[in-house]
C-alpha cells in the first residue's frame, strides 16, 4: 500500500505545483494593467505606483509567485483588485452555492443514472433497456445550457411553477432553496446521469456474467438480492471513479448553469473576474478549483486501489 501511496501522493503534489505555476504565469499573460483597471483611466503615475506597491506588483515575478504560494498556504489569497475585498471571503461566499448545486446535481445523476443503468442491464433486449439507452443518448446529445433554456421556457414562463433564477441558501429556507436549485441541478446532472448510466450498465452486465454471481444464484438467493447485494456493489466502484473523472466537466457545467440561472457561485465569480482582469480573484478561484479537483481524484484513486488493486485507473473527460 505504502509503495503505491507515496508516489501517488508525490504525483499529486507535482501536479498541484505545476498548476499553480501555469495559473500564475497565465494570469500574467492577460492583457491590460490591473493597477490601471483599479485606479481608473484618470489616475496619475504616482497613484498607479502606489497601487502596484500595495499589491506587490512591483516585485520580480518569482518573488510574487513564492509570496503568493506562501500566503495561500496560510489561507490568504490576496485581495480582489476590483473590490478590494479579500479573495478568500468572496470564494467563501460563492463556494456554498456551487457546492450545493454540485451535490444536488450529483444526487440527481446518481439516482437517474444508476437506476436506469441497473434496469438496462437486468432487462436486456427489452423495451426497458431500449428506453434507458435512448434517454442516455439524449443526455449526451442535448447541450445542458439549451436544456436549461427550455426548462426556463416551460417551467418558468409557459407554466410558471418554478423560479427562473436566483439562489436561496438551504439553511435559510430549505423548501425555497430546493425550488430554486431543482432546475439548475437537473440541467447540470443530466449529462452526468447519461455517463453514469452507460458505465453502470456495462459494469452490471459484466458483473452479472461472473462466477461469483452465478454462485450466489446457485446458493438460492433471489434475483433482487443477487442484483443489489452482489452485482451492483461491485459496479459501484466503477461509478465512483466515473464521477471523480467527470468532476472537471461538472465544474465547467456549473459555470454555464450558474450563468443561465443567475446563481452567485464560482462560475459567475470566475467569468466576472476574467472580464474585469481581477488577477488575485482568477488565481484564487482556479487554485481552489484545481486543489479540490486534484484532491478528489487522489481520494478516488486511493479508494479504488484499496477496493480493487488489480485495476489500473484510466479514463476520459471533456
Amino acid at each position: 500500500m505504502g509503495r503505491y501511496l507515496i508516489p501517488r501522493l508525490l504525483e499529486s503534489v507535482v501536479t498541484f505545483v505545476l498548476v499553480t505555476i501555469v495559473v500564475f504565469i497565465g494570469v500574467r499573460a492577460l492583457p491590460g494593467d490591473p493597477a490601471r483597471a483599479l485606479a481608473g483611466e484618470e489616475s496619475t503615475p504616482e497613484q498607479l505606483a502606489a497601487i502596484r506597491h500595495s499589491f506587490g506588483l512591483d516585485q520580480p515575478v518569482p518573488v510574487q509567485y513564492l509570496r503568493y504560494v506562501g500566503n495561500a498556504l496560510h489561507g490568504d489569497l490576496g485581495r480582489s483588485s476590483r473590490t478590494g475585498l479579500p479573495v478568500a471571503d468572496s470564494i467563501g461566499h460563492a463556494l456554498p452555492v456551487t457546492l450545493q448545486l454540485a451535490v444536488f446535481a450529483i444526487a440527481v445523476a446518481a439516482l437517474i443514472g444508476v437506476g436506469a443503468g441497473v434496469v438496462a442491464a437486468v432487462r436486456r433486449r427489452g423495451p426497458a433497456e431500449w428506453a434507458a439507452n435512448s434517454v442516455a443518448l439524449l443526455g449526451l446529445s442535448v447541450p445542458s445550457f439549451w436544456l436549461g433554456l427550455m426548462g426556463v421556457l416551460v417551467f418558468a414562463i409557459a407554466y410558471p411553477v418554478l423560479p427562473a433564477s436566483g439562489y436561496v441558501s438551504v439553511f435559510a429556507d430549505p423548501y425555497e432553496s430546493f425550488r430554486h436549485l431543482l432546475m439548475p441541478a437537473v440541467v447540470l446532472g443530466s449529462g452526468l446521469a447519461a455517463v453514469v448510466m452507460r458505465q453502470t450498465r456495462s459494469a452490471m452486465i459484466e458483473a452479472l456474467g461472473t462466477d461469483y454471481v452465478r454462485t450466489a444464484k446457485a446458493k438460492g438467493l433471489s434475483g433482487g438480492q443477487v442484483v443489489i447485494g452482489h452485482a451492483l456493489r461491485n459496479s459501484l466502484i466503477v461509478v465512483t471513479t466515473i464521477v471523480g473523472l467527470q468532476l472537471g466537466g461538472l465544474i465547467s457545467g456549473a459555470v454555464v448553469t450558474e450563468q443561465i440561472f443567475v446563481l452567485p457561485g464560482f462560475g459567475k465569480l470566475i467569468i466576472d473576474a476574467v472580464f474585469t482582469r481581477d488577477y488575485p480573484m482568477i488565481q484564487g478561484v482556479v487554485l481552489v478549483t484545481a486543489t479540490a479537483y486534484i484532491g478528489i481524484n487522489l481520494l478516488v484513486d486511493l479508494l479504488y486501489s484499496v477496493i480493487d488493486p488489480r485495476v489500473r485507473v484510466g479514463g476520459t473527460v471533456l
Partner: protein, 295 residues
C-alpha cells in the same frame, strides 16, 4: 482527417485489424448508425453548400417581417431584425462544424504523438501523463475563459480551447492502445526482426490503433459542437454578427416571451446533429470492435 487515411497498408496488421470492409458492412446493417450517417452527411452538405441552399443571405434584415413564427416564406421564422432563421441556422451549422473539425485535428495532432511516446517510452510516460493530468486539472470552461481573455473571443479561440480540452483524452486512449499493442506477438516479432522504434510506431502500432482513434474522434465531435455552442453562448467564441448556433441561442434569451421559436429551433438543430454523431459513433465502435457489440 487525412492523417487517418495513410495507414491501411500494413501487412503485419491484418491479424489485429478486422477487415475494414467487413466493418463497413456491419455498420451498414445497423439501422441507427445508418440514420446517423445519413443525417450527418446531409448536415455537412447543407453547411458546406450553405450559400447555395439557404433561401436568404444570413444577415439580410427585413423590418416588414420582424419576429415572425415559422411560415411558408420563413420555415424557421425570423428574429427581431427580420433575419431568416433557416439561413442563419445553415450558416451557423457551418461555423459549428468548422470549429469541431479543426478542434479535433488539433487534439489528434498533439494527442496522438504524445500518446504514442507515453505508451512506448517509460520516461516519456512520466512527463506526458503529468502533462495530461495538468490539462485535466483545468476545467474546460475555466481554460476557455482565460484564453478568451488573453486572445479575445473568436473562432480561433474557441477552436484552440476545444482542441486543447480534447488532448488529454486522446493521449490516454493512444497511450493505452500503444501499451496493449506493444505486448502483442507481431510487435515482438518486428522487434526481433530488428525494426527501429520509428518503424515500430509508424508501421506496426499506429495502424492498429487507428480504429480506436476513429471511434475516439467520433466521440469527440459532438462534444466539440456543444463546446462551440457553449462558448459562443457565453460570448467567448465566435462573435456576432457572424452566425453561430450558440449566438442565436444567447440572442434568443431576452426574447423568450415574444419569440420562443428563436430559442427552440437552433437548439433542436444542435441536438439532431450531435445525436446523429453519437449514433454513428456507437455504430462505428460496434462495427470496428465486435466484442463490444450488444448481441
Amino acid at each position: 482527417m487525412t492523417t487517418l487515411d495513410v495507414v491501411t497498408v500494413d501487412s503485419g496488421a491484418e491479424t489485429v485489424v478486422p477487415g475494414r470492409r467487413r466493418a463497413l458492412r456491419r455498420l451498414l446493417r445497423n439501422p441507427l448508425a445508418v440514420t446517423g450517417l445519413v443525417i450527418v452527411t446531409l448536415a455537412v452538405l447543407a453547411a458546406v453548400l450553405a450559400n447555395l441552399v439557404a433561401p436568404y443571405p444570413p444577415d439580410r434584415t427585413d423590418f416588414a417581417a420582424v419576429l415572425q413564427p415559422p411560415t411558408g416564406a420563413h420555415w424557421f421564422g425570423t428574429d427581431e431584425l427580420g433575419r431568416d432563421q433557416l439561413s442563419r441556422v445553415l450558416f451557423g451549422l457551418r461555423s459549428s462544424l468548422l470549429v469541431a473539425v479543426l478542434a479535433i485535428v488539433v487534439s489528434l495532432a498533439v494527442g496522438v504523438p504524445l500518446g504514442l511516446a507515453a505508451g512506448f517510452y517509460r520516461i516519456a510516460d512520466r512527463v506526458v501523463s503529468r502533462f495530461a493530468d495538468t490539462l485535466l486539472a483545468f476545467p474546460f470552461l475555466v481554460f476557455a475563459v482565460g484564453l478568451a481573455a488573453i486572445l479575445g473571443p473568436s473562432l480561433f479561440t474557441a477552436t484552440t480551447a476545444i482542441g486543447v480540452a480534447g488532448i488529454p483524452a486522446l493521449i490516454r486512449v493512444t497511450r493505452g492502445e500503444t501499451l496493449r499493442l506493444r505486448g502483442l506477438d507481431f510487435v515482438s516479432g518486428a522487434v526481433a526482426d530488428g525494426a527501429s522504434d520509428p518503424v515500430l510506431l509508424w508501421r506496426h502500432i499506429l495502424p492498429n490503433a487507428v480504429n480506436t482513434l476513429i471511434v475516439q474522434a467520433t466521440v469527440a465531435a459532438p462534444a466539440a459542437i456543444i463546446g462551440e455552442a457553449v462558448l459562443s453562448f457565453l460570448g467567448l467564441g465566435i462573435r456576432p454578427p457572424a452566425p453561430s448556433l450558440g449566438i442565436m441561442l444567447s440572442a434568443a434569451q431576452p426574447l423568450f416571451r415574444q419569440g420562443p421559436w428563436l430559442a427552440v429551433i437552433p437548439g433542436i438543430c444542435i441536438v439532431v446533429v450531435t445525436l446523429s454523431l453519437n449514433l454513428l459513433g456507437d455504430g462505428l465502435r460496434d462495427a470496428l470492435d465486435p466484442r463490444e457489440a450488444p448481441r
